[in-house]
Symmetry: C2
Subunit: 366 residues, 2 copies
DNA sequence: ACTTCTCACTTGTAAATACAACTTGGAGAA
DNA sequence: TTCTCCAAGTTGTATTTACAAGTGAGAAGT
């Protein structure tokens, strides 16, 4: 290594331990012996030993001596790791996103640390702190409750100031300055709504998640489409729900939902998960999809294509999005000075069987 | 803390930084100034600064000065974490296992570090080293290629000697001394084969993974059932494949597979994944399941229940198994002296539509 | 046989001194 | 104005000396 005396002793000691096959708790040479061997002062030897101790190679005990820490416990930190914080990960589109991230990180020789927040900001705090204290090289984060005030604001600002590389995916906190890799949720909301208008629907209601930015953006796209098609009062047909309370929604707001279904020919659902629950709900009450009511979702989850009535939805670039997020982070690590912009994937409609074409039906009838 | 001079300086410095509200990259007092303030020698001050540096409170730059590391970057390690090493994780039954692990760890205040080996022992080595060097409190590992010689033997033995808590799941290396949480694969293999015999099948072939213990055990169960039912030559009808080469199997061994299908009324598949690929293969060649050939799998993956011909299989206790693995590890951490035994889940047959009952058919014909 | 004590030996703390390596800003030159 | 270079200032390395604090084994006493 370097040509300082204490560094040469450090290297010498490592070789010595290896060549003598010393194992855990074997006694190492005393400071005095090392002084004699290398012809240096005790302070220099101590400097070397301190270094070895911080590298976990040896263990010093006052009054007793210096001991070797062999094998596993002495292993130095060799692999770099990246922290990934996601709201969920084992269902829906999350496995694909995380797989995308993992494949790129793995390719670049990084290990992955995964934490799940269950969409709870408190768990997000804990995950961030845990990641940082474990010395990750960078973070890939899906914000929890991105549309609500977040107690981690200071934490994120501090990370920004400290130059810790970070990429958001799916959504970003509006006040944050880190780049974000996501689908164009506004366009997605607009796309499915346009599709319904194109199929002759005019009485369209919608349900959106109130606590994340994706819900807000999909709502925004929905409204744009409605306004463009002259349905200015569409706002009244929007129901908001908290992502965590999906079950409560379908248990305690049945009348509200039924009223909505009765007064509409189509429902825009925040995502496929909600859309599928909605289809289940319709089935229970004898409402036929798409004959009585059309349903569209967003995300193109696996179940959307293989369920009873294949769902018309918007393709989420899950795996590619994950890969891109990882690449964006690695970019930040390798060239921190660059400006890193948001990356937005264009949505892509997946037309299946959950939307009825009212125009064709009308013509056939008349 | 202690009453050494340098420790009082350490404490003083922390208070100073807090009271002066110094933030990241703010300049700290120079060594000379600290000497003057505390009336001590420079070595003593340096000792204090070294301590502060190792605690990540300050950062020293030769020739430039000493700087404060405020906020996030100065955070000490507070949360304990557990390393989870799995072969795969985003498909099949793995998400459920990992979810089970995560929920228990989370409940107990542990963070989870996840690494994927893609069933490669080299990646297992890397993952183990990475985890250890990141200071995990324990490990939950699904062995890669558990039935083949493993280069990490020394590493695992060293972990055992060092008292690092570890739990295997799904399978364990035969030579290892750590507890394992798994399904009773032998019983599972026996169960599906018995089911086929019960349904009047006698010409039964099978395909098993050659590189992991689960494959060997399921094979063992299969053979037990065959012997019990007087099919002593069943061994000849067994095809072995390497888990990584499933695609090659179906691309390059078509004749072998077709021959097998022609000479059997039923096929026992190592797992659902293989069974589904086999059903696909049958479809391509116009072989009807279960009319022409019955197929059974093991694991009860999600697709097994929702595919074209719902698959008869054995329920894997995925989520509960994950929870149990985590609990077993936490047990080891809290009471290391206890003897920790393997935990084995009894298999449970899921009878669906991929098995034809030959007895009923025979009676109907006669 | 057992306990207690002492002493040699180990690492830890502290000081004074000297020089080395590096950074930074300001003086002076172009 | 801009550039170069140097000197002052800062942390890093190395030596020497001294004493403090803890360990462990053997001597001495019971």
């Amino acid at each position: 290594m370097e040509d300082y005396k204490y560094m040469t002793i450090v290297e010498w000691a490592k070789n010595y331990i290896a060549s003598e096959k010393l194992k855990t708790n074997d006694r190492f040479l005393t400071e005095k012996e090392l002084c004699a061997i290398h012809g240096v002062s005790r302070q220099t030897v101590r400097q070397a030993l301190m270094r070895l101790e911080s590298e976990n190679v040896i263990c010093r005990v006052r009054g007793s001596g210096t001991f070797v820490k062999g094998g596993v416990t002495a292993m130095p930190s060799l692999t770099k790791s990246i922290g990934v914080i996601s709201t969920y990960f084992s269902d829906y589109i999350f496995p694909y996103i995380v797989t995308g991230i993992e494949s790129v990180l793995n390719e670049s020789g990084y290990a992955m640390q995964l934490a799940i927040t269950h969409n709870q900001v408190a768990e997000e705090t804990q995950a961030l702190r845990s990641m940082i204290s474990h010395g990750v090289q960078g973070l890939i984060v899906e914000p929890s409750k991105s549309a609500l005030p977040n107690p981690n604001t200071d934490l994120y600002n501090e990370l920004k100031r400290s130059g810790v590389p970070l990429v958001f995916f799916n959504a970003k906190y509006p006040w944050s300055e880190f780049p974000c890799v996501s689908m164009d949720d506004e366009a997605a909301g607009k796309l499915v709504t346009d599709h319904l208008f194109d199929n002759g629907h005019s009485k369209i209601s919608a349900i959106f998640a109130l606590d994340n930015i994706q819900g807000h953006k999909r709502y925004s796209g929905f409204m744009q489409s409605c306004l463009a098609h002259g349905a200015a009062d569409a706002e009244k047909n929007v129901l908001w729900f908290s992502a965590a309370e999906k079950k409560q929604l379908f248990r305690f707001c049945k009348e509200r939902l039924l009223e909505m279904l009765m007064n509409s020919t189509a429902v825009v659902c925040y995502n496929d998960d909600l859309a599928l629950t909605m289809m289940q709900f319709c089935k229970e009450y004898g409402i036929n999809v798409p004959e009585d009511v059309s349903i569209v979702g967003v995300d193109d989850s696996k179940i959307a294509s293989i369920c009873d009535i294949p769902l018309t939805t918007v393709a989420h670039p899950h795996r590619r999005l994950g890969e891109m997020a990882a690449r964006c982070l690695l970019d930040q690590i390798s060239s921190p000075q660059n400006e890193h912009k948001d990356i937005i994937f264009a949505p892509d409609l997946k037309s299946r069987n959950s939307v009825k074409n009212l125009r064709i039906t009308e013509k056939a009838v008349s």
